[in-house]
């Protein structure tokens, strides 16, 4: 397990931040822009090619895998966009677009002279594709024949799949039971294959209602309910769950 996947319900964290700004430092806007451009230029999208030298895949899953691969103590030490900056820089270095040495050297130059500007260059076709991605998106919905094992109102159990690198199953829902609230129309892929965790291919997605008292017995508030959208791979019939426990 990774603590990053088990955030929901942690104790002892102190007051929440009520900071309503999106960016608290100007530099954060730049890494957000770079990340969005990478998603837009990513090679799996069915968009026209551009002269960009970016030839590999970058999706939300890649960003999340990077953040979730951090030592948990570092995950909570670094601010949100600090994690992005570390993960994205690492990706460009690992994929040999840039070297760590040239990034370090140029960082020193801009550190010594923050007013020094970035170079002027580039083909407008690259930016047109970035805008096209923002406008058109990248729908995960697929017209695939899939079977729906559950209907609204069914009681279901949540599996505890072996998630190693990445998951979309929050830790606090594992081995718990809930009730199907919504069966979403169609099938949905995930952005990458999560391996033993089990998502990637097109499959149904259910919205499942959980009673907080079942999630945190004796240690939660009254008169609220928690809903989570979960890929069907994480969901099974209660009988299957109890058979496994008995075995």
């Amino acid at each position: 397990m990774k603590l990053q996947h088990y955030l929901g319900g942690l104790e002892g964290l102190g007051p929440v931040s009520t900071e309503t700004r999106v960016f608290v430092e100007t530099w954060e806007t730049r890494i957000f822009g770079i990340h969005t451009a990478m998603m837009a230029l990513s090679s799996q999208l069915p968009l026209p090619p551009t002269p960009s030298k970016f030839t590999t895949v970058w999706t939300w899953a890649d960003l999340r895998k990077g953040a979730e691969s951090l030592n948990p103590f570092d995950y909570f030490k670094f601010r949100y966009y600090e994690k992005w900056l570390g993960g994205i820089s690492g990706y460009f270095i690992d994929n040999e677009y840039i070297t760590a040495d040239e990034l370090d050297a140029l960082t020193e130059e801009y550190y010594s002279d923050p007013s020094k500007s970035v170079p002027a260059a580039g083909d407008a076709a690259i930016d047109n594709r970035v805008v096209q991605y923002l406008v058109e998106g990248d729908s995960p919905k697929r017209d695939t024949n899939v079977s729906f094992d559950f209907a609204v109102g069914d009681l279901v159990s949540i599996k505890n799949v072996p998630s190693i690198e990445h998951t979309r199953l929050p830790g606090f829902l594992r081995n718990k039971s809930g009730t199907v609230e919504t069966v979403y129309d169609g099938a949905y892929v995930y952005l990458c294959d999560t391996g033993t965790d089990g998502i990637g291919a097109a499959m149904p997605v259910y919205c499942i209602r959980f009673e907080p008292e079942d999630l945190w017995p004796g240690n939660t508030e009254k008169n609220f309910s928690l809903y989570a959208d979960l890929y069907s791979h994480y969901v099974e019939a209660p009988a299957a769950a109890s058979a496994k426990q008995a075995a």
């Binding site: 840039i98 140029l106 170079p119 406008v135 998106g137 929050p170 890929y231």
Partner: protein, 205 residues
Amino acid sequence: MIDRFQYREDREAYSAARVKALEALLIKKGIITDKTVDTVLDFFETKMGPFNGAKIVARAWVDPSFKDRLVTDTPAAIAELNLPEGMAGAEGEHMRAVANSPDVHNLIICTLCSCYPWPVLGLPPYWYKDPTFRSRAAREPRAVLGEFGLPVPEAIEIKVWDSSAQIRWFVVPERPVGTEGMTEAELEALVTPEAMMGVAIAKAA
């Protein structure tokens, strides 16, 4: 004492230099252009943002049948409005709206990351991305809302929606009392991103 729990004293200046160096290298290597980052940021100032969500909510306030359609089939209802192109674009491919009522208050969270409906709300504020919010809102939403200055009486049910798959959620807050004579444009100005994620309610100015 180990290094793990220490930051550089020049934490922000160093990150600023490093991201600038990264952007410069990516421009030099032909991956992005010198206008790419500004193009993205401009898009979020003019096309995708909470100003779209505010229009949707104001319409729901003045037209109850629109509100019904909005919570039944969110994308189809949004498509009825004259909003910029891209309301089903990046991070808006599958959106679902939930409406507050006198009996129910809705709160959107993402315990795994920071899923957020970009086209109608723009980019997530810091509070939404903060691990403390993501953790605590799942187990003690009433306490968390209290810290936002929003007491929710125990008689009102709170529904917490954890965005763990591909659906992006937003809240239609209730129309504030005392706004009966206001125009749709005036109503839009009362809708905040916080109200559309459920940590605030809309208030008559």
